[in-house]
């Protein structure tokens, strides 16, 4: 089997039928396979995120990352686009759901699709991964240290982020959660709360929590990178997606 892959910027139809930019990476062979939607972190549609997309292609999936800031800042540098989106209030939840839905649809439309699509998000994208899995048809969801899935945002947050507690009963996909025990957002207590809610709602989930790791432990270009947690986390993701997106 070839290990060649193809990665390129493309366009997809997102929320409200708007065309947005996306980064697509695919194995070059024609075998049937699952797809992965990667939700970028708040700093944007950046090089590190595109590396993650390519890694999923290397793992054998068709992978895509929608540029969530395309509407505010088409063709801008990722950091400028992130700053612009932040100054305008951030990505509304409804729009996120539409854009992830469009990305999942684009993956399922590929001739190589086995019709199974997972989602993964990091940081703010972790919350958005859970949000998407509460609203659209996905086969597996991964939440990497998303804040405010549970817990209450402090008063005075200009970005009107809310927790997802009232939406969790609608979670439609098995959830893999990866968290650092030194993180405060989400704190270990907030992860406990999420675990309890999902147990109560009988939602399949699997959490792994790492001592010595804080927030953003997967981020290879940041001081928060934690080798042990990231390596184990990637193995958990591979196994989880093999189980739910394979075949």
């Amino acid at each position: 089997m070839s290990d060649a892959l193809c990665a390129e910027t493309t366009r997809i139809t997102g929320h409200d039928d708007h065309e947005i930019e996306a980064y697509l990476a695919r194995p070059s062979d024609n075998g049937q396979r699952g797809g992965v939607v990667v939700i970028h972190h708040m700093p944007g549609f950046d090089r590190a995120t595109k590396e993650i997309v390519r890694r999923f292609a290397e793992l054998g999936y068709d992978a895509i990352c929608p540029n969530l800031y395309w509407r505010e800042a088409p063709n801008a540098a990722p950091d400028d686009a992130a700053a612009t989106a932040r100054a305008q209030g951030g990505v509304p939840d409804e729009r996120l759901i539409g854009d992830v839905g469009g990305a999942a649809g684009a993956l399922r439309a590929l001739p190589t699709s086995n019709d199974k699509v997972g989602v993964i998000g990091y940081c703010s994208g972790g919350r958005q991964s859970v949000l998407a899995a509460c609203h659209i048809n996905l086969d597996a969801a991964v939440d990497c240290y998303g804040a405010f899935v549970t817990g209450t945002p402090p008063d005075g947050f200009p970005l009107r982020v809310t927790n997802l507690v009232d939406q969790l009963p609608n979670l439609r996909a098995p959830l893999l959660g990866l968290f650092g025990n030194e993180d405060q957002y989400p704190s270990p207590a907030q992860v406990d709360e999420l675990d309890e809610i999902l147990n109560r709602e009988d939602k399949p989930h699997e959490f792994h929590r790492y001592d010595g790791a804080g927030h953003a432990f997967f981020a290879v270009d940041r001081p928060s990178y934690n080798v042990a947690a990231a390596n184990d986390g990637w193995e958990r993701i591979e196994t989880f997606y093999q189980t739910h997106l394979g075949g």
Partner: protein, 88 residues
């Protein structure tokens, strides 16, 4: 964490930005969150921008919390050193 917190303020002034060109600054955005470049998990970030000129019309600063407090004190001291009637 992503703090999500974003404080916006209108500004009147100028900044030297992309391609070493000066531009009129109309907006300031201040937030404590992950930096793009600074070697710290969180920094106090300030964007001096003119949104009417597009996303690239921006001067970005990422400061450690201690540095940001020092900057606030320095700004206050500089303003206080000038005659009051000049700094209205």
């Amino acid at each position: 964490m992503c703090t999500y917190a974003t404080i916006k303020t209108e500004l009147e002034g100028s900044a030297k930005g992309p391609e070493s060109k000066w531009f009129h600054v109309t907006d300031g955005t201040v937030y404590f969150d992950h930096p793009v470049h600074a070697m710290a998990e969180h920094t106090l970030n300030i964007d001096f921008a003119d949104p009417s000129r597009g996303p690239g019309a921006r001067v970005a600063v990422e400061l450690t919390a201690a540095s940001a407090r020092d900057l606030v004190a320095a700004i206050e001291a500089a303003l206080a050193s000038a005659p009051a009637e000049m700094t209205v």
